[in-house]
Symmetry: C7
Subunit: 72 residues, 7 copies
C-alpha cells in the first residue's frame, strides 16, 4: 500500500503543486516536511486567481493544505 | 459490522470518488491511506464546478475529506 | 440513559438519514461506524438542495456529521 | 457550583432546546449524552428558519452544539 | 497574575455577558463552568441582532465562546 | 530567542491590543493568561468596525485570538 | 531534508513575511517561535487589502498562520 507519508518522502527534491484551503496553489521543489504535514518549498511560485508571484522559500502549515500533487 | 477503515482497506487499488470540503471531487485509484484518513490517489481526475482536470498522483489531507464513495 | 454510541449500535443494518456540515443529507443503511463517528452507509442516496443521486456505498467522515436520524 | 455536565444529567428525560452551529434548533426529550456532548433526543422537532419538521429520534454531534436550554 | 480560570471562579453567581461565535450575546448569572469553558447561565437573556429573548437556564459549549465580560 | 509565552509574560500589566477572529480589536491592560492563550484584560475597550465600547474586565478565549500587539 | 522547524530556526533574526488565515500579511523580523508555530515579530508592518500599518512587536497565534516566507 502507498502510505501518504511515503509518497511525500519520495517527492522530496521533486517539484510539487500544493492546494491550500484559501484557494492558493503553491508550486515549487519540496525540500522537507514533518509529521503535521508542514512543508518547505523552494523556488515557490504562488498562483492566486490566475495571478502568479515568485516567493522563493516558503514554509506551509500542514493544517491549511488540502492536496499535494507531485509533478511527474 | 463494516468498520470504516475496513471498507477503506477493501477499496485499495479500486476506483474511488472523494468529496472534499471545498466542494471538489477527486476520482482515481486509491493506492493508500493512513490513520488520519490522508489518502493517495493515482490517475486522479479533479472535478470542480463541472470542469474536469487530470492530476495524476494526489495526496489528500484527511481533515478535508467529507465522503468517500468506492466505485462498484 | 440512552448513550449516543448505543443508539448508533442499535441503528446498524437500519435505514438512517445523516445531515452533513455542507448541507447534504445522506440516506442509506448504516452498516458500520467507529469511535470518531466515521460511518459506512450502503444503498446511499444523497440529497443536495432537492436533487437526489444514488451513490451506493459511502464512507462518511465523522467530523462532517451534524446529526443522525434513525428511520423508524 | 453548577457543573455543565450536572445540568445535562438533571435534564435527562426532560424537554430541551438545542441550538446547532448551522442555525437549526432541535427540540425534544433528552434521553442521553456522552462526554463529547453528543446527545440523543426523542420526539425531536427541528426548526429551521421558521419551518418545523418532526424527526423522531436524533443523535447530535457535540461539536455542532452551541447551546442547550432545558425547558422548565 | 490574574489567571482566566480564577476570574471565571470569582464570577460565579455574578452577572456575566458572553459573546458567542455566531454573534449572539448571552447575559445571565454564571452558575458554573468546567475546564473546557462550557458554562451554565441562569436567568439568561439572549441578544441577537438587537432582538432580546428570555431563555432561563442555558448550557453554553466552551468552543463557541469568544469572550466573557463579568458585569461590575 | 524571544519565546511567544515570554513576550506575553513581559506584557502583563501593560497595555495590549488583541485582534480576534471575528474582526474585533480588544484593547486593555493584560492582567493574566494561561497555556491556551486565554487572556484577561482590564479596562478593555472593544473596537468593532470603527465603533468603540468600554467593557471593563474581559476574558478572551485563546482559540479566537489572531494576534497580540503589546503597546510600547 | 529541510525540516520546517529548522527553516524557522534559521529565519530567527531575519525578515519574514507571514500570511494569516484572515488574509492579512505581517512582515517583520522573526525574533522567536514555539512548537505551536506561535511567532514573535518585531518592527512588524501589517498589510491588509493594500493598506499598510506599523505595529511594532506582534505575537501571532500559530493556528492562524497559513505560510511563512523568509525574505532573502
Amino acid at each position: 500500500m502507498a502510505m501518504p507519508q511515503n509518497i511525500l518522502e519520495k517527492s522530496v527534491d521533486k517539484h510539487v503543486s500544493i492546494k491550500l484551503k484559501d484557494g492558493r496553489i503553491m508550486e515549487g521543489k519540496l525540500t522537507g516536511y514533518d509529521e503535521y504535514m508542514n512543508m518547505v518549498l523552494e523556488g515557490t511560485e504562488e498562483e492566486n486567481d490566475g495571478a502568479r508571484r515568485r516567493l522563493g522559500t516558503v514554509i506551509l502549515r500542514g493544517n491549511n493544505v488540502v492536496s499535494i500533487t507531485p509533478q511527474s
